[in-house]
């Protein structure tokens, strides 16, 4: 038995040794650099070859601009980054700054996952940002994050296809009725199969909910705390989508969706679809892979004249996780990150919509040619872009609405009944 004990002891010794080695490593990950700067941990999900150098250049500029703070950037994969954030907030050792989703700030504020920032900011700071973005970061009158970037949806259309179909390439569809009319002209059928589809409302970076809010004068599913799911306009929008599906046929829709579902090839670039809704950065794909493509951009068609070209928006914020060790230094960095200089650099390099108004406008000035044309359109479109932050009373209301929309689109129920059930289900889950 002695040898048994010896063996087991050896195993634990090995573990102890490993613990010893790594304990030392931990020591140098302290709070300060050798020259006495405070280390600010900054977590992002920008690890790709295209984005990482840009954010790291911004960080480098900031680090060189002063001698008190050293920002250390850590890449963490999309999605998992927030799981880790949550665990580290719970354990009391979070990062100092993290990039997070813009539409769920109030939920994190409610659950005390983020630091409140109002003591660091004043009205003049606030006024740097688009108001619809700033609204999302406030919860009960206090700010919990600073908007970083955003997006909006535009209609991209193939000018060559327009000419072929006898349409004016400088006159994109302005209303739903025109959209339908144009789409029919743009369809190219080969027997029962479609060689080109004019338009389908659910392809691209857009979903049924976008059209439903577009029809309903930009009103979301939950409007100022009131449920607005089962409204006549939203039912109508769902019926309208269903109409498209019936016209093209289930098979065509599924085939296209699956073909391009893996996000590799894009049907608009492949000229298999003539009109396509997507975010501004989609342009970079057109620029890189769609050399022969002649395209134009326009705001989303409106439900009827005067109803408004409402589009849905998203984006990200910079925030300080609850319990961060260096909130003041972190805020100093956030101010730089969301300031005009860094934001403009980000916008020009990434072709992304940024939250800082001055930076966005300076970016338009700097860009040229088609780059400028599309970017200007996205910035202009922000005026008609709505954010739909998730209210704290209905934390995962999407999970109750989406299956019903699916069922309606699959023909299992009527749009009216689907939305009625969705509204009931969401009502039931309301948190007190």
């Amino acid at each position: 038995m002695k040898r048994g004990l010896a063996f087991i002891l050896a195993v634990f010794l090995l573990i102890g040794m490993l613990a010893g080695c790594s304990g030392e490593q931990k020591a140098d990950a302290g709070k300060k650099t050798q020259d006495g700067k405070v280390v600010v941990d900054f977590w992002t999900f920008w690890g790709s070859e295209t984005r990482r150098p840009i954010i790291e250049k911004i960080i480098e500029d900031y680090n060189n601009s002063q001698d008190k703070v050293f920002v250390k950037h850590t890449f963490l994969p999309w999605g998992d980054i927030w799981t880790k954030n949550l665990a580290s907030v719970a354990a009391g050792n979070p990062a100092d700054v993290i990039i997070n989703d813009i539409n769920t700030v109030s939920q994190r504020a409610e659950n005390k996952q983020v630091e409140e920032l109002s003591k660091y900011i004043d009205d003049s700071f606030k006024q740097q940002f688009y108001p619809h973005l700033w609204d999302t970061v406030e919860y009960e009158g206090k700010a919990y994050a600073v908007p970083f970037n955003t997006d909006t949806r535009l209609l991209f259309y193939n000018k060559k296809a327009f000419k072929e179909a006898g349409l004016d390439p400088e006159k994109p569809p302005a209303t739903w009725a025109e959209l339908e009319e144009y789409a029919k002209k743009l369809d190219v059928k080969n027997g029962k199969q479609y060689d080109r589809v004019g338009f389908y409302p659910l392809w691209g970076s857009v979903g049924a909910s976008s059209w439903m809010t577009n029809a309903d004068s930009g009103k979301g599913f939950i409007d100022n705390g009131e449920l607005a799911i089962n409204t006549p306009k939203k039912v109508e929008a769902l019926e309208w989508i269903l109409g498209w599906k019936e016209r093209l046929g289930e098979n065509t829709v599924q085939a296209f969706q699956a073909e391009f579902g893996s996000e590799q090839a894009n049907p608009f670039i492949a000229e298999k679809v003539a009109m396509w809704v997507d975010v501004g950065t989609f342009y970079t794909q057109l620029r890189d892979y769609g050399q022969d493509l002649e395209f134009g951009v326009a705001p989303l068609p409106e439900y009827e004249e005067g109803a408004g070209n409402w589009a849905e928006g998203g984006g990200f914020v910079a925030e300080i996780p609850k319990g961060a060790k260096n909130p003041e230094e972190a805020m100093d960095f956030i101010k730089y990150l969301t300031g005009p200089e860094a934001q403009k650099y980000w916008a020009v390099k990434n072709y992304d919509n940024v939250a800082n108004i001055e930076a966005a406008e300076a970016t338009i000035e700097e860009l040229k040619g088609p780059d400028k044309m599309v970017y200007e359109a996205t910035v202009k479109n922000l005026e008609q872009t709505k954010m739909f932050p998730v209210p704290v009373e209905y934390p995962d209301y999407h999970s109750r609405i989406n299956p019903q929309i699916d069922n309606a689109l699959l023909g299992k129920t009527t749009p009216e009944k689907a939305l009625e059930k969705a509204e009931n289900d969401v009502e039931k889950m309301k948190k007190k």
């Binding site: 038995m1 048994g4 004990l5 087991i8 195993v11 927030w82 799981t83 949550l86 907030v89 719970a90 939920q107 659950n111 005390k112 996952q113 098979n251 599924q254 085939a255 969706q257 699956a258 073909e259 579902g261 893996s262 996000e263 609850k322 934390p395 995962d396 999407h398 999970s399 109750r400 989406n402 299956p403 699916d406 069922n407 699959l410 299992k412 289900d425 039931k428 889950m429």
Partner: protein, 331 residues
């Protein structure tokens, strides 16, 4: 039983693996430790790494989650006792709970027998003396090595209704394939198909187990004129039954916890068309990390614990009837 003695003798004669230490027998007796006490001591010493890990790393978090299931724990700031509220909510308020349980049971019922049978069949095939077997085994094990998002994206392409490889091949036989991941009726079969593709992991277990079946037994059966099926049923199956037992229990547990596939292959982990891929653990995950209702998620976890525990104990009881341990005791 008589021949086992002879093999034993043969083995000891052939391989002298135990060093000669005749005197120790007496020495042990002198120390006064009975065999029973010695076995107790050795037993606990041998499992001590596991006990340390269990007490030090596993038990605490487990009890914590059990406690959390009676609270409104939100991971970061709240943990108030609310009694059985979470458990009540599952059965009365949460309609998605039922959907997720149904989807999961559906998946378990099909995936466990299919993967078990598939793995055994494959292992038997890969245990033949065919040229290039090393390559075949490697190829069939490949899918089990692959993991992560790339595989799921790959399958999304393969299952594409009109040009996907799966439907193209069905087309060769004049079958019009379904829309797989886009049709709520076919999403779960699609995942089962994907699961079958990577049956190589289970195959490896059976292949290892088949190495313990002696060729002499088959030769003896050949002389008696047994058919291939008789040999499989009377020799192979009993010999690998401990591993079948293991496979059934662990794959039941694993199937109840299916998560990643559905999380990656449905948009934003939403649960797929018409919630047809909203599995129990996916619903739990959404509650825990989207809504931060970890108390409720913990309650769900512990209900699942009870369900699977009952099944496992049942399996163990039934196992005594059909699992054959060559070592002699099944206790």
């Amino acid at each position: 039983m008589k021949s086992s003695e002879s093999t034993l003798a043969h083995r000891e004669a052939g391989t002298n693996i135990i060093p000669e230490r005749k005197s120790t027998n007496a020495a042990v007796k002198k120390k006064g430790l009975s065999r029973k006490a010695k076995d107790n001591l050795a037993g606990y010493l041998f499992i001590s790494p596991w006990i340390i890990g269990f007490l030090g790393l596993t038990l605490g978090p487990l009890l914590f989650s059990l406690a959390a299931s009676f609270t409104d724990y939100n991971i970061t700031s709240k943990m108030n006792f609310i009694g059985l509220e979470n458990y009540k909510r599952m059965f009365t308020m949460d309609d998605l709970f039922r959907t997720s349980l149904y989807n999961t049971i559906y998946y378990v019922i099909f995936s466990v027998p299919l993967t078990t049978a598939g793995a055994i069949l494959l292992a038997v095939l890969l245990n033949q003396k065919v040229k290039g077997m090393k390559f075949f085994r490697t190829i069939y094990y490949l899918p089990a090595i692959l993991s992560g998002v790339a595989v799921y994206f790959l399958w999304m392409q393969l299952l594409s209704p009109s040009t996907g490889l799966v439907n193209t091949m069905l087309g060769w036989f004049g079958i019009e394939g379904p829309a797989w991941l886009f049709d709520p009726e076919w999403t779960k079969p699609a995942l089962l198909l994907m699961k079958m593709w990577s049956v190589g992991g289970g195959m490896l277990l059976y292949l290892a187990s088949l190495q313990g079946v002696s060729s002499q037994m088959y030769e003896a059966a050949d002389i008696e004129g047994a058919t291939a099926w008789q040999k499989f049923y009377h020799i192979t199956l009993p010999m690998i039954s401990p591993i079948i037992f293991f496979d059934v229990i662990t794959s039941t547990i694993g199937s109840f916890q299916i998560f990643q596939e559905a999380y990656v292959m449905t948009e934003n982990g939403s649960g797929g068309p018409g919630n047809s891929l909203l599995f129990y653990n996916l619903h739990m995950w959404n509650n825990a990390f989207e809504v931060f209702d970890m108390g409720y998620a913990s309650a769900m976890a512990w209900l699942l614990f009870i369900i699977v525990m009952i099944l496992t104990v049942l399996n163990m009881k039934l196992g005594k009837r059909w699992v054959h341990y060559e070592g002699g005791d099944g206790k």
